[in-house]
Amino acid sequence: MTGHVLNFLGETKLELGAAQDRSGNWRTGRDDAGILWLALDKVGTGTNTISEPVIRELEAHVAAAEADLPTALVIRSAKTGGFAAGADIGALGDMAGSDGAGLLQQGHDVLDRIEKLRCPTICVVHGAALGAGFELALACDFRIAVKGASFGFPEVLLGLHPGLGGTFRLPALIDPVEAMTMMLSGKTAHTKRAKSLGIADEVVEERHVAAAVSAAAKGGLEKQEQGLKARAFQFEPARSLAARQMRSQTEKKAPIRHYPAPHALIDLWEDHGDDRAAMQKGEIESFTGLLKTDTSKNLRRVFFLRQQLRDAGRGDDGIAHLHVIGAGAMGAEIAAVAAIRGKRVTLGDVKNDPLGRAMKRTAEICEKQHLSCTETRDALDRLMPDPRGYGLGLADLVIEAAPEDMDLKEKIYGGLKGRLKEGAILASNTSSLSVDALAGHAPDKARFAGLHFFNPVSRVDLVEVIRGAETDDKTADRLAAFCGAIGKLPARVTDYPGFIVNRALMPYLMEAMVLMDEGVSKETIDAAALRFGMPMGPITLADHVGLDIALHVAESLRGTLDKPMPEISDSLRRKVDEGDLGKKTGKGFYDWSDGTPHPDSEDKGPKDLTDRLILPMLDACVEVLRKGIASDADQVDGAMIFATGWAPFRGGPMQYAKARGHDEITRRLEQLAKDHGPRFAPDKGWSDLG
């Protein structure tokens, strides 16, 4: 909360030195000390990306510097948001088609010429320097990080690796193993870590940028020297040993058949780690090759799916105060996430103990998200346990996260009448009850909707915003904007049993149990799903969700859907009766006492095993599209990926169906229906897909 005086003074302005005159995407100028300032200020956007014109114009500025050598060259961003987000991801697609290698070579040449300039070159980084932005920074002699700066190579998340010299410049600058780890994991190094790794030479506040640049231009910064360990990797045997370790670790998280990029990067480094020219050539070849892989195409698609969902959550939510009813696992994490993102939150429960556990959980989430002591304190201060429900009348949004029991919810809603603030929204975090049925008990149907979070809320990005028949536009918009404000991705859907995600997931879970009842081992079933690329096998997932909840959702879907669903397995009912509910009780189908199980099986099981698991999911997706529950195939894919981790390198269930061919899938479903029953009969929506 900023006071009026600081509001008046505004934020600290970026120090752009002499970089005042705009020409194209750059602002440039030489100051009295002869320092050439280049500030990237991409036209028509708030975020810098490194596009072909940006590189082309940079080349002209570099040529000018070569012709008339300045005292020093400074490169920074003129955008308050940060340095540069990397390559233009849309343009990457075009590159895959045309002369990608030529374009890359052009970029490499410019960066090489910056590196060779005979004056000190200084990159000032505020905010994020990612991908190609980071590579531009690496071409400079020095990097001055403004507090809050971060550096990273997220290319691997797009099925690529760095392509503008990052693969050889970073390992040459810092400990090569650290460099490889950064490129393989896609993880960002924040200011402090960037300094200790040696990426940043100096860390300053924005108000000292001019002084720091001036000092660096006069030779005030020493070039980083790599240690002994780095020099050891000049020798191939040392690299081979390290590469072998990297490969086996990478294979566990990103198997080569699904994710070729990290493996290609390891090969590159092992083969050419001591030969920069070969590495540069290899990087360009490997990068252009990876651009053409389905994995990269699909992962770039996932990037845009995320953007589309995020765009659905823009706007002002008008929600300063959130009240959550029920401090169970879901309610507690919803409250925690909102408080961490700056909302004032009150969390109500009839008992004090769950409120205490919620505070503990919040502190843990703060720690996991690397919040500082003061950030953690402020988040905890914003989250008030509220056993008396004082926050009810103050809240702009009330989220009910009570157990899935219609009578209980009816009772709770009854108690809210006349107590909510004027204009307040009531939303239910229901996963299996009908939003329209619940709306009947709400104080105001127009300001009632479903807001379905996924477990664990702090880690799963997707939230389904379920519009009931009588929910008004403003309420739906505000709820989507609320999701955006707390860092979540809203999928705006209409009321339907299971909405999108559970509707698609339940047949998968239930079919897995039918298979188990047929005598296929749970390890075989889960391993098949993992081989397909799911983050978790269906049996593990059922344990993870909670078998009681899985049973509840399954029963509710069976009762409300027109289509036949798999029979609910007796073994599921038995587990629930015995109180073995999965992860939360330490035992379900698996034993969770030693953490998450990692089922592995050589046995491939029945030939149609994978299709029996996956195709019903696709069929359900087609059904929700046909019924207009979801807006389009992209939304379905985004929802499934960001809620369940559905094999991202396949681009989502609808993308997978398209790639495999709708006719082929319909035929397979018909065959499965013949072999195993009408539950596999293809939805009539398949024929509309074209």
Partner: protein, 431 residues
């Protein structure tokens, strides 16, 4: 000091944390943490926007290094905004009442309309400090130049340098007389003839009264549960020993003056952490926001006397209020007299009941009278629930207001003794 005409001042509402007994090591909350824990729900249950507050005053004796001016830190952490003026007050055990009194006077004078006034103390966080001699030695070590100089400085090292001074112990010792607070109670017990047994009986009653108040839910709206980040919930004053009886108390040895003293851990207030807030408002603010105050503050008084008998502070502070308003014993329906020590409370009662004391010291013709024990500390006090020094004065005013409301009392006085030889008192009247 006499009451001047001005705006009427109302106590609108208030809340406190449970008082948490200091066990081994620092407790889960700092003074500001405690102030936030009870301040949040208090503000959340008001019918007005907290932007209507125009000042925050907090009493705190043992300010910790991370929270200089705890009032301001608390105001910001409570989300009251960058523009909220806030200051901290310190008059030892009277700090939490001094904050109310200051707010009362500001509003009465018309410069403010609504003030949040509190007290916060985490005695379990009281620091360990180095001895002065050790500090000097460290200084010489730092200044030493060259090995010879260093060796010379080193030789000054003494084993007692490593014996830290317990800040709390020093804080509870009067620096003028070098008497510990418990010893001042011993002085009073001797002067007013308070026996060990009557002191113990008083202490038992304090526990029984608090137990009844807890059981009957009389503290429901006053105590807001506190939640630490390990998930522990603190929902009641945990110093209570409901099964206290004479044989168990009689076994305790005197703590301050061994072996013959009468003041024991059992008949003294407990060392605890806790915070308390009240909201004061002018008549104008009450009308503007449609508030329903608990009580009106109608007078206050501070008095001073010899530090070694500081325990009589309440007599010196409360009497002028009674005299100004021409009140007899019967006119005062309820008393909250902070229970620093049973012997000290009983000495105050004895002084008011003593003809010559009242004549010579208080200017009455005869004894003020014996305060009916059914009107005094009706729901227990610091002996059973503890005495976080900077908070207690706030708590007794708040509880007086709540107890008056619960019992339909018309008038009450909250008063306290203050280490160093002071007393504070405040009068409330029902709406």
């Amino acid at each position: 000091m006499t009451q001047t005409n001005g705006q009427r001042v109302f106590l609108v509402d208030g809340a406190r944390t449970p008082f948490i007994k200091a066990r081994s090591g620092p407790g889960p909350f700092t003074p500001v943490d405690l102030a936030v824990q009870c301040g949040r729900p208090l503000l959340a249950r008001q019918g007005f926007d907290s932007a209507a507050l125009d000042l925050v005053i907090l009493g705190c004796v043992n300010v910790i290094a991370d929270e200089m001016n705890p009032a301001r830190v608390a105001a910001l952490r409570l989300g009251l905004g960058a523009q909220m003026v806030a200051f901290t007050m310190q008059i030892n055990c009277g700090s939490g009442m001094q904050s109310i009194d200051t707010a009362y006077r500001y509003i009465r004078d018309g410069s403010h309309q609504m003030i949040l006034a509190g007290g916060a103390e985490a005695l379990s966080h009281a620091p360990l400090t180095l001895r002065q001699s050790a500090v000097e030695w460290f200084g010489q070590m730092y200044a030493a130049k060259g090995p010879l100089d260093q060796a010379r400085a080193m030789s000054g090292l003494r084993p007692e340098f490593f014996k830290p001074i317990v800040g709390l112990e020093r804080g509870l010792t009067d620096p003028i007389t070098e008497l510990n607070m418990g010893q001042t109670a011993e002085v009073l017990a001797h002067r007013f003839g308070i026996s060990r047994e009557t002191a113990d009986l008083y202490a038992i009653q304090s526990h029984h009264r608090l137990a009844a108040a807890q059981k009957e839910g009389r503290l429901q709206d006053e105590i807001m549960p506190a939640f630490d980040r390990d998930g522990t919930v603190y929902d009641h004053d945990d110093g209570l020993r409901p099964d206290s009886d004479i044989p168990s108390l009689a076994k305790l040895k005197p703590v301050f003056e061994k072996p013959h003293g009468k003041v024991t851990a059992g008949n003294s207030s407990q060392i605890t952490d806790g915070a308390s807030w009240v909201i004061l408002a002018s008549e104008k603010a009450v009308e503007a926001h449609g508030l329903e105050p608990l009580a009106e503050i109608t007078d206050s008084e501070w008095a001073a006397l010899d530090p070694e008998i500081m325990g009589l502070g309440p007599v010196l502070a409360a009497t002028p209020i009674a005299q100004r308003h021409d009140l007899s014993l019967d006119d005062i329906d309820l008393w909250e007299l902070n229970e620093a020590f049973a012997a000290q409370v009983l000495s105050c009662l004895a002084a008011w009941g003593d003809d010559s004391f009242c004549r010579e010291v208080l200017g009455y013709d005869a004894a003020f009278g014996h305060i009916d024990r059914d009107r005094l500390n009706v729901d227990g006090g610091a002996i059973s629930l503890g005495h976080p020094v900077g908070t207690s004065g706030n708590r007794i005013v708040l509880h007086l207001a709540n107890a008056m409301r619960a019992r339909g009392a018309k008038r009450g006085i909250a008063t306290e003794c203050i280490g160093g030889g002071l007393g504070g008192a405040m009068m409330l009247e029902a709406m």
